[in-house]
Assembly symmetry: C2
Homo-oligomer: 421 residues x 2
């Protein structure tokens, strides 16, 4: 396809998404829920076809030398499909947000004024390899009555195309606009640039993937983007910590699933902790297979600890590796966090309520925790039922984003002929 | 100053604003209120000095050939200063938002999770001629516990510098960080470009002024911008309207203050209204001095009506001029609005509750009204007490923006040592 014809293609696609989003304004959440349930049924009915389409991607992936881990992520196993089915049913059962009324007031002149939750409109999701994102992300966007434009990784193109087509079928079956879910029908990268410049028709872009993808999206987008680049999460263990909690939280935050954004990357130890206590914490981490890079005070605790460089404080290891910093009290801990945090999640372990209050107030991150593992920073764990992503931005939405985060509001003013004097 | 040294200047300035914003996290709203009251006292005490500084701008303005209207807007009359004083007292008396707790939940594992309102951080305000914006905007930003960087019009530089210096003094008098309010200390336009690229330290930009200024800001900003380009507000008069209300609302929406963004720019008449009724409405507008551009059906009502071109539907006249469109029922009215509206404010006049509900649901604007003048779309009229601007964007804040719109939230998680299984 020529650059020009890709431009035309994306223009037509985004315009038809905008039209679909306008039609959705007049639809009910019940109907959307029926479409989500219908999609879960179609996934089961069409499993064989889906897995055949998936095989085309796997075959191409093998030929292109994808790693075993990559091929694994790409595969639509029975269990992958079952998990999509469960996800769809869970989203259908969630409480929706659209139509909620809040901030009501009646003015002295009798005007009744309130805000009501409305869909954002058209949401573009740009993601990498896993085809299940196609279903999960589309489900959450639809639940909030938005139209969605999907752009997955090129290596999953056949799988994603099949899944999006099923979704359109499920929508059509319920009399809903089929184009409420659309996948960009080309793997040409120029399509992404055109999408990111469709500010007249697309209201929000959510990139999901590695930092490189996200920076590319932010740099090129004329449309608001909600994102997080990375998760450099800190746990600060105060001299007022209860050791048993400190040990559990430090180990869990690092070890339970090190490859995700809410895992701890830097541990901060109060130098007012006894050396014995600090040794205990370091030993527990080492025994769990963690490689530690530390400052001089930390290195003194165990000979296996490597020296930490400036880069270690800025590093998202996503691995069983950890930077450890020693500070003289909470003020210094907060200064370190202010400087190096990615504003994702920070936790303090302390028995002092006063110290905890101060930490929760002064640390400027999307989630701040007291006596809890950073691994809890997650839509499911926060009780949202699902998650479209995590935001470290300050506007609109911060932290784990659920169904409500894909809505905005409008002001409704009801009068009986009032005019302004 | 060289381009390089302006870059250094803005870097130092934005960094010191960020530092001030961090200090504000630990301050109380009471203290901020005291600073606002103190500022109102300083305005009175230093009135003579302020007016002398203002005279420097007026003298330069005269030499540069500013129009009488421009010089009038630039002048710090006694009444201008009194109105700033009243504004400061009103903002001090408003209920603040920071620290509010909401969306609380306790999870099955015992974690207590909630959102709390926090300041956004550092807000940049870029505006044009009126020096009173310096005080009004800084007051609202401070009330929400944000640091603010101001960049006013070059023709008001001495006045703005004096006002910002007084604000810093008022802050210092209360033991608050003086750099919470800073004015960019140069009129060089390169400073704006550097400010707009300070995404590490500045969290939000709000431009206030003409469409040209706003488009320049949006085009160059690496920082989120909240804005509206223009207000192309529509009033739709249905065949089910009560004529007395229709007449009052049409005239008030256009005539009461035509030069502002919430004035009506296009009137849409239902062709199912009797010709007599449509004539009445047109006559009332003409009698109020309005020049009307209309489609063929409208032109048939009065010989003084000029033909409307495509451009008239897209025009923000900001004057006693009006485009009038005739449609066959509400669906066509909504299609016209979808195509031409700037998503600021649209109003329907009808006695049919069903029709009103449909209009309020399907029109995708930041304010939608039933039987009320579009002129009510305003922070003061909505009961916010003050207004930092109006947003036609969809994310974060829509419509009139008050104190709460300059806050964001963070998630607080309180545990007793919970870890993730």
């Amino acid at each position: 396809m020529t650059e020009h014809s890709i431009g035309e293609l994306i223009k037509e696609l985004t315009k038809s998404s905008k039209d679909a989003s306008r039609l959705l304004l007049n639809e009910s959440e019940e109907r959307i829920n029926s479409a989500l349930i219908n999609m879960s049924e179609l996934l089961l009915q069409q499993k064989e076809w889906l897995q055949n389409e998936n095989k085309k991607d796997l075959k191409a992936g093998e030929e292109n030398g994808l790693s075993g881990a990559m091929l694994d992520r790409l595969t639509l196993f029975d269990k992958t499909i079952n998990s999509m089915i469960t996800g769809l049913k869970e989203v259908a059962e969630l409480k929706g947000s659209v139509g909620q009324i809040y901030d009501e007031r009646t003015r002295p002149n009798g005007l009744r004024i309130y805000k009501t939750r409305v869909p954002i409109g058209v949401i573009g999701i740009i993601y990498e390899s896993r085809p299940n994102v196609t279903v999960d992300a589309a489900a959450i966007c639809l639940k909030s009555m938005n139209a969605v434009i999907l752009r997955g990784g090129s290596e999953a193109f056949h799988s994603n195309t099949a899944l999006a087509a099923l979704f359109s079928k499920a929508l059509e079956n319920q009399g809903l606009p089929a184009k409420s879910v659309q996948l960009i029908p080309t793997i040409d990268r120029a399509a992404i640039e055109h999408l990111l410049r469709s500010e007249d028709d697309v209201d929000l872009i959510i990139p999901r993937g590695g930092e490189g993808l996200i920076r590319m999206v932010v740099k090129n987008s004329h449309i608001p983007v909600i994102k997080h680049y990375k998760g450099i999460c800190h746990v600060y263990i105060s001299a007022n910590a209860e050791m048993e909690k400190a040990l559990r939280i430090a180990v869990n935050s690092k070890v339970q699933r090190p490859g995700v954004c809410n895992a701890m990357e830097t541990l901060i130890l109060d130098s007012n902790l006894s050396q014995e206590n600090r040794k205990q914490i370091i030993t527990a981490l080492l025994e769990n297979g963690v490689t530690i890079m530390g400052d001089a005070d930390t290195q003194a605790l165990n000979s296996s600890i490597k020296p930490a460089s400036e880069q270690d404080w800025e590093e998202e290891y996503l691995d069983l590796r950890l930077a450890v910093k020693t500070v003289n009290g909470m003020d210094e801990a907060i200064r370190h966090i202010s400087r190096y945090s990615s504003h994702h999640t920070e936790s303090i372990v302390t028995e002092s309520a006063e110290e905890a209050t101060e930490f929760l107030k002064l640390v400027d991150s999307s989630s701040v925790m007291h006596n809890a593992s950073t691994r809890f920073a997650d839509g499911g764990e926060y009780g949202m039922g699902c998650e479209i992503g995590i935001s470290t931005d300050k506007l609109h939405s911060r932290g784990p984003m659920g169904v409500e985060d894909l809505t905005t509001y409008k002001w409704i003013v009801k009068g009986e002929g009032q005019i302004r004097e």
